[in-house]
């Protein structure tokens, strides 16, 4: 059933040109838009200026990001600036990712998370694009906060909450997006993140000492395939690899038959999937 549906979708294409590369420095013309289930809603309000927000979490974590074309031409430069207020969403995660704090006054504190970034993209051949990017997000506390870093195994979630929970999250990364005919695009991306330290554990407003330190370095790579469907939309599938310190240890046996426990970095592989609807 699924292959048949895919065949119908792909065969209904208006195959004039490949879909444009995603997540590049390219900023659309006025009223260009795209939105995915997980990918943000992006709308060009004027030529060269886009606003984006993630609708999936918008009402519990208001967020907006703006993109400004600084430089056009073969090599494009775009600046980004954004702001989010993640507190309510984090409070909804209490009981699962954060303590419920039933007997104390601890809670996830109010905070703002501003973000700035820059992207540079260039076109290779006719439809393939390389992109380099750097960005940083910071926590601006607006009150007392007891929430500690998640240190989970879900890299996207840990990265999403890195700035709110560790104080900052910076990234440098690069991507290459290759058109494969008019239907497919293959995209590879690698990122290096540096988060803030684990910080102190705060109980009822007072520190009870440092949280166990973990490496602040997170490495990710993503390989994805975009499949053009309908006139301007696409289905994206891929796999994300993340390598970072999750407190994992491994037992190493010595020649004398006795073992030692050593800390190791964890590797996670996560499937990625989205449907992105676009108009331009």
């Amino acid at each position: 059933m699924k292959p048949a549906l895919l065949t119908v979708l792909v065969s209904s294409l208006a195959l004039a040109a490949p879909r444009p590369a995603r997540d590049t420095a390219d900023v659309g013309k006025q009223w260009d838009y795209s939105v995915g289930i997980f990918n943000p809603l992006r709308l060009a309000i004027v030529d060269g200026v886009e606003l984006e927000a993630n609708p999936l979490v918008f009402f519990v974590a208001p967020n907006v990001n703006s993109r400004f074309r600084i430089l056009g031409g073969p090599v494009r430069l775009t600046a980004e600036a954004g702001l989010s207020l993640p507190t309510l969403a984090m409070r909804l995660m209490k009981g699962f990712f954060f303590p419920s704090w039933e007997t104390s006054t601890n809670d996830v504190g109010w905070m703002l998370v501003p973000r700035v970034g820059a992207l540079v993209s260039g076109t290779v051949l006719e439809h393939s694009v390389w992109t380099a990017r750097a960005d940083a997000a910071f926590r601006v506390p607006l009150g007392r906060n007891s929430a500690a870093p998640l240190n989970s195994f879900l890299a996207p979630l840990d990265l999403l909450l890195a700035a709110p929970l560790t104080g900052f999250c910076t990234r440098v990364g690069g991507a290459y997006d290759q058109a494969l005919g008019e239907t497919f695009r293959l995209r590879g991306e690698a990122n290096l993140f540096v988060t803030g330290p684990q910080g102190n554990l705060t109980v009822n407003g007072a520190s009870v000492g440092p949280i166990a330190p973990l490496s602040q370095l997170i490495v990710t790579a993503h390989l994805g395939l975009d499949i053009a469907v309908f006139k301007q939309s696409r289905l994206t599938v891929g796999v994300l690899w993340a390598n970072y310190d999750q407190g994992q240890s491994a037992v190493v046996k010595g020649a004398d038959g006795f073992s030692d426990r050593v800390r190791v970095r964890s590797n996670n592989f996560l499937p990625t999937l989205d449907f992105i609807w676009a108009g331009y």
């Binding site: 303590p99 989970s152 554990l201 440092p210 240890s249 004398d256 006795f258 030692d260 996560l270 990625t272």
Partner: protein, 387 residues
């Protein structure tokens, strides 16, 4: 704010390299042995007796109240809290200076206990030179209350070489939904063979049975322990947290009958049970001390029932557990204190005991550390005379 196009629901099944929650599908298997790197004094050669201790060390939290205690809501500790607590636990162990130490609720890489390898910590900070560890709960992320990564189990430390280390699986609970059961403990028994010289080997069992089941799992686990001890061919010691009261009486007996527990043994309404815990998954299930009778009938307990006595006034000297610490008060403003016995040491009938006790606080055996501030369980100790 950006979200990667990740289907989180699929993540749990497709992540690689490490179990999200180790189902512990084994019946009986070897586990690693560890050796101290620090130089410790050699133990006496060819000993006629071994000083032993069993202690539930509450993952190095001392008296920090966690959420499932209902007196607090903590889910993790700072490094300084863990190091401070472990240093005191190690100090008490050094003061008593056992030849064999059995620990339960010891952790080797849990988020809540600052990822400290407590087995290694005790190896390097006591006179114990060898250790083994049997994990009973190993998950890379326990979602409840953000507990996160956990690796908890039973350990056995020894001054004499551990020549074989294994863990033996116990029955799982059957009264939990699939999701809860997946991320829950899978109880197991630590077993170590210790070479005490001159061709003599002894078997040590570290045990910790279920605490919260409503389906008879704990009783099954206790019966399994008894069967294992009966089948053991080496001189053996079994110690740990049985989560059960001594069989002073039979909880099934009608009031007024000689076996009735009325006036002999408190079965419910302990001073550290918070009303808000009732009806939750952490409510104290009814105790069934009768299941422990087989141990007293067939083996040699460190504290006999005659010594334990009848009624709280006599028994409190041997209480080993209190959820509530002495610096906290219950809803009736009564400070916490040891209020029941859950921890035991047993050996085979043909061996003997001397100098057995429960170290409830400073005093006995020259101990200066205050055990009631170091864990929610007290160490049970004795000298095991090998015959």
């Amino acid at each position: 704010m950006r979200l990667r196009p990740v289907v989180l629901a699929l993540a749990a099944t497709l992540t690689a390299c490490e179990w999200i929650a180790d189902p512990m599908k084994y019946t009986r298997e070897d586990v690693p042995r560890f050796k101290a790197k620090a130089e410790h004094p050699a133990p006496p050669e060819n000993p006629a007796a071994l000083k032993v201790m069993a202690w539930n060390v509450k993952y190095g939290a001392c008296r920090v109240d966690f959420w499932f205690d209902f007196w607090g809501d903590r889910t993790q500790l700072s490094t300084t809290e863990v190091e401070d607590c472990l240093s005191k636990i190690a100090a008490l162990v050094r003061e008593y200076d056992p030849d064999v130490l059995i620990t339960e609720e010891i952790e080797v890489g849990s988020k809540r206990s600052a990822y400290v390898d407590m087995v290694r910590y005790l190896l390097e900070n006591t006179n114990l030179r060898y250790a083994m560890y049997a994990a009973t709960w190993e998950s890379r992320y326990v979602p409840s209350e953000g507990v996160g990564r956990i690796n908890l189990g039973n350990a056995i430390h020894s001054r004499y070489p551990i020549t074989k280390a294994e863990r033996i699986r116990q029955a799982d609970r059957t009264d939990q939904d699939v999701l809860t059961a997946t991320f829950y403990l899978h109880r197991g028994i630590a077993r170590a063979e210790v070479d005490i010289g001159n061709g003599r080997t002894v078997a040590i069992y570290g045990v910790h049975t279920e605490a919260y089941d409503q389906d008879g799992t704990k009783q099954k686990q206790i019966v399994q322990l008894h069967e294992l001890a009966q089948a053991e061919t080496l001189p053996w010691l079994m110690g740990g947290d049985f989560n059960e009261l001594p069989p002073v009486c039979d909880e099934r007996a009608d009031a007024g009958t000689p076996e009735s527990c009325a006036g002999k043994l408190r079965l419910t309404e302990f001073l550290d049970e918070r009303a808000s815990s009732k009806g939750t998954e952490f409510a104290q299930p009814p105790y069934t001390p009768s299941v422990m009778k087989r141990f007293y009938d067939d083996f040699n307990p460190s504290i006999t029932l005659a010594r334990y006595g009848v009624g709280e006034a006599a028994q409190q000297r041997y209480f080993t557990h209190s959820v509530l610490g002495p610096d906290s008060k219950n809803d009736e403003m009564v400070p916490g204190n040891w209020n029941r016995t859950l921890d035991y040491l047993f050996i085979r009938r043909s061996d003997g005991w001397r100098d057995t006790d429960v170290i409830q606080g400073p005093g006995p055996f020259g101990v200066t550390q205050d055990a009631i501030r170091l864990s929610d369980h007290a160490p049970v100790v004795g000298t095991w005379e090998l015959r």
